[in-house]
Amino acid sequence: MDFAFLSSTMVTLIRALPTTLVLFSLSILFGGMLALLITAMRVSGIRLLSGFARAYIFVFRGSPLLIQMFLVFYGLGQFGVIRYSFLWPFLREPMVCAVLSLALCTAGYTAEIFRGGIRAVPAKEIEAARSVGMSGFLLVRRIIAPIAFRHALPAYSTEIVLMMKSTALASLVTVWEVTGVAQRLISQTYRTMEVFLCAALIYLVLNFLILQAMNLLEYSLSRHRRPFAPGLRA
């Protein structure tokens, strides 16, 4: 084992870690917000909106992320409207394109996960809320959303880990995150195995941290399922 090489590789890769983390957190944030919107449309009961949401979910879940990313990165610039709009300085940026396409894609998957969570809300609990006079946004905010989120959490954790892996695709539109840098190191040194191991380790640690955080969240949201422990109440 060449520890000098391994450690210098590790240092180089970790320098790219902030880029990976920015890609990840921005796309989770925007993707999550978009997913809420799509979910709302999907369950709105208005045919036009739910039809649009259905089509959105079908398209973004049914095609590879890479082709979506290339469509955003190469395709948008083709249109004069966009090229000469105030948005162009933004959309010219690879980072913006990568986040945009990651967020658009994860929104499709996440919307479907959220919808599953909503379907798991017992009708009786909604009835009970209505019977005390709750309706509309209050009903959603106080009753439906908390229960649905708890149900959706395990699937959402999986989706978040998948998103961490998906950030690697940004390297193909010239954003130098961990996988992109790893690829560059491989083609410079031809020491594929060592570079792979270092990069893989970084991702596995990230996944581990994400899953721990999600478990913690799940635990703190499931107080109602644990035996009553007086005195533990914060």
């Binding site: 395709g75 892996k165 390297s171 491989i186």
Partner: protein
């Protein structure tokens, strides 16, 4: 050039090129699924075995190949495979660079990833077999191999169909990443067509649409297969036969 000419099947149209690439995508995915089935069955068996080292190997395999970006695994197989091949070539007295064919590298990489997901599918399917049915097989005197062949395998396959459908969809989309090795599958073909015509938007939309056709068609195939396989399970056919 008009849209029709650009996408036409003959002459200067890119239609035939894209359709051929779609077939390549299907071929890569199908090969990967087959490789993944073998790997997945082995890993599932390891994870279900009583041996601690085997279970550990199984656990590491599924954790690594489900947790590391697919692109990184493709690089590992493509570049790593090529240097391995070159080293073997040198040992045999050939001094030049030997590249792993991109189809093989791509199918192998996607197959290894698919194997990690298939292992979980098979493991879940095994646990879905009612224990009593295995006991009944033991009680009738079936030796272990016969039990495996007659009782376990048919039931695992049946319970695994929906999960395998998901893995197929996943591998179909992962196969787009194989384009980085230069294999002209649907993703790479869309890149080539859009690059040479400067019609990026058009060709990525067409490529995406072809992927959508593939995913929705295969969804239908797996749904039908699931219905067929579960005919013996549903009580709805009572008296109907």
């Amino acid at each position: 050039m008009t849209l029709f000419e650009l996408l036409g099947l003959g002459g200067k149209g890119w239609g035939a090129f894209l359709l051929l690439a779609t077939a390549t995508t299907l071929a890569v995915t199908a090969t990967a699924l087959a490789i993944g089935a073998v790997a997945g069955a082995a890993i599932a068996a390891a994870k279900l075995s009583g041996s601690v080292p085997l279970r550990l190997i199984g656990h590491v395999y599924t954790t690594v190949f489900r947790g590391v970006p697919e692109l990184l695994i493709i690089y590992l197989i493509y570049f790593g495979g090529s240097s391995g091949l070159t080293a073997v070539g040198r040992w045999l007295g050939y001094d030049g660079f030997l590249g792993l064919p991109s189809f093989a590298a791509g199918a192998l990489a996607v197959g290894i990833i698919s194997g990690a997901y298939q292992a979980e599918v098979f493991r879940g399917a095994f646990h879905a077999i009612p224990r009593g049915e295995l006991e009944a097989a033991m009680a009738i005197g079936m030796p272990r191999r016969l039990r495996f062949r007659r009782i376990i395998v048919p039931q695992v396959l049946r319970f695994a169909i929906p999960g395998l459908g998901n893995v197929w969809q996943l591998s179909l989309k992962d196969s787009a990443l194989v384009s980085v090795t230069g294999l002209v599958e649907l993703m790479r073909a869309s890149q080539i067509a859009s690059g040479s015509t400067r019609q990026y938007f058009l060709f990525y939309i067409v490529g995406g649409a072809l992927y959508l056709i593939l995913t929705s068609l295969s969804d239908r195939v797996f749904n039908t297969a699931e219905r067929r396989a579960n005919r013996s399970m549903s009580a709805s056919t009572i008296g109907g036969a």
